[in-house]
């Protein structure tokens, strides 16, 4: 995979400046999608180009970068992005959530509560929360302008009528600052409550659609629901087989070729830290 275009290296200063301007406006209008210029990114889409563009525009020599994919630091995608930034910026990297100043993520929010001084950068495949319901971009822009989200409420209500609950387990739509409907990216709905009033700054980059959006610290992020059907984040009803956590989000993994399965934390740093603490306590 050396042909991924890593030799393009860092973004040029003009591109960074354009993305930086978009980021500041995104922070000023929480949850609103800001388009950024048409320049091509040095990676194929699907590899987190939007997140990479944001991280590359934000990162500096004093940062420590953590990259996770589905909660894990050691998957191919996470390792590639971490190596990419180590090579083109020389910054230190870490797998420890608490030590990172920038965390680029795909599909999860770390279990460890994030703090001020940290920036969480989400890789976003599709920034428009309404795109399955309304394919016309001009029409979705109009809906955001008017905060007219009836279409989404109808969809959720139909889910409840049909299934007795909202049948969305990933990318569950949220309302930011009581105003903008936003895609949280394909994180499990279980993670949605972590976005609400998070002390860290949350930045979202969509490479293919070339959109950036943001949630400032301590900003309300609510999952859409109904009074008689309140939002309920779901988690497998089991402890982690490795660290015993009953709070973390779990992945079901196949452990042998006979179909044996077990539940383990999807957040590898959280799980490893708990295992170490347990061993030290014994």
């Amino acid at each position: 995979m050396t042909a991924l275009g890593y030799n393009f290296g860092y973004l040029d200063e003009n591109t960074k400046r354009m993305i930086r301007r978009a980021l500041l406006k995104a922070v000023a209008v929480p949850g609103h999608q800001v388009p950024f210029g048409a320049r091509e990114m040095p990676l194929p889409y699907g590899w987190g180009t939007g997140g990479i563009a944001v991280t590359a525009s934000v990162i500096g020599a004093g940062d420590r970068l953590k990259v996770i994919d589905q909660g894990a630091d050691d998957t191919t995608n996470a390792v590639s992005i971490r190596h990419f930034f180590a090579k083109v910026t020389g910054v230190g990297t870490t797998e420890r959530t608490g030590e990172a100043t920038i965390i680029q993520t795909r599909h999860r929010i770390p279990e460890t509560r994030l703090r001020e001084g940290q920036i969480l950068v989400y890789q976003v495949p599709m920034p428009e929360p309404l795109f399955r319901l309304e394919p016309r971009v001009a029409e979705t822009k109009r809906m955001h302008a008017l905060a007219d989200y009836g279409l989404m409420h109808v969809k959720l209500y139909e889910d409840i009528a049909r299934h007795g609950h909202v049948a969305i387990s990933y990318n569950y739509p949220v309302l930011v600052g009581g105003r903008y409907l936003m895609s949280p990216s394909p994180i499990p709905a279980f993670d949605n409550p972590k976005m609400d009033r998070m002390p860290a700054l949350q930045l979202f980059g969509a490479g293919r659609e070339k959109r950036i959006y943001a949630v400032p610290p301590y900003t309300s992020v609510t999952s859409l629901d109904f009074e008689d059907h309140p939002f309920q984040p779901v988690r497998a009803d089991a402890p982690c087989a490795l660290c015993g956590s009953r709070e973390s989000y779990l992945d079901e993994v196949v452990v042998d070729d006979k179909g044996g399965r077990m539940f383990v934390c999807s957040d590898t740093d959280y799980c490893a830290t708990r295992q170490t603490q347990r061993e030290a306590a014994e």
């Binding site: 400046r17 930086r20 610290p217």
Partner: protein, 192 residues
């Protein structure tokens, strides 16, 4: 262009550091950020205000300023930005004397509220604590900020700016090597 004072000593890291301070300031309205790497901007430009424009302005962003011809030459040369005479046409504005009327600046549209101006204002003083009580996104409970040198009537204009959300301008306040930001979402109360 001989005779112009230098811009950033080390443009790539200096612009990055300035941007991070701006991002932090915009994300946590009223927090005062101190810039370490500053350009040698000509008077009357405050070093922080000059750094903000070097970081954000370029050929794609029309700039308006009241700072006079020496400052305009400096900005044209180091940022490469076009300068405009009409405040309403600018993407970035730098006010060193009075304030242009906020209502006359580009506020974006309901569909594209990001196409709005950012107004950089040089103020006489900028201190944490006292003065204003700030609330809104980015603020856990409240931030306190003391600003000196804004015209009387500013708070009413700011409230009017916030009332047209999501449209509206965003503000960066600069004094010496320090800056603080007020995105359009920040509510300000005078707290005695």
């Amino acid at each position: 262009m001989n005779g112009l004072t230098p811009g950033f000593a080390d443009p790539v890291p200096d612009a990055q550091a300035c941007f991070r301070a701006l991002l932090e300031a915009m994300a946590r309205p009223g927090r005062v950020e101190r810039l370490a790497a500053l350009p040698e901007a000509p008077a009357p430009l405050a070093p922080a205000a000059a750094a903000v424009l070097l970081t954000l302005a370029d050929a794609e962003t029309p700039v308006w300023t009241d700072a006079g011809p020496v400052a305009e030459d400096w900005l044209r040369f180091h940022a490469g930005c076009p300068l405009v005479a009409e405040p309403g046409l600018a993407g970035f504005l730098l006010a060193t004397g009075g304030l242009p009327a906020l209502a006359a600046l580009e506020a974006g549209t309901e569909e594209e509220p990001h196409r709005s101006a950012t107004l950089i204002v040089q103020v006489a003083g900028l201190e944490l604590g006292g003065g204003w009580r700030l609330t809104g996104p980015g603020i856990e409970r409240e931030h306190r900020l003391q600003v000196e040198g804004l015209p009387r009537g500013f708070l009413a204009d700011w409230a009017a700016n916030g009332a047209r959300f999501p449209r509206g301008i965003d503000l960066v306040l600069c004094a010496g090597n320090r800056l603080a930001a007020l995105p359009r979402t920040t509510r300000i109360e005078e707290a005695g």
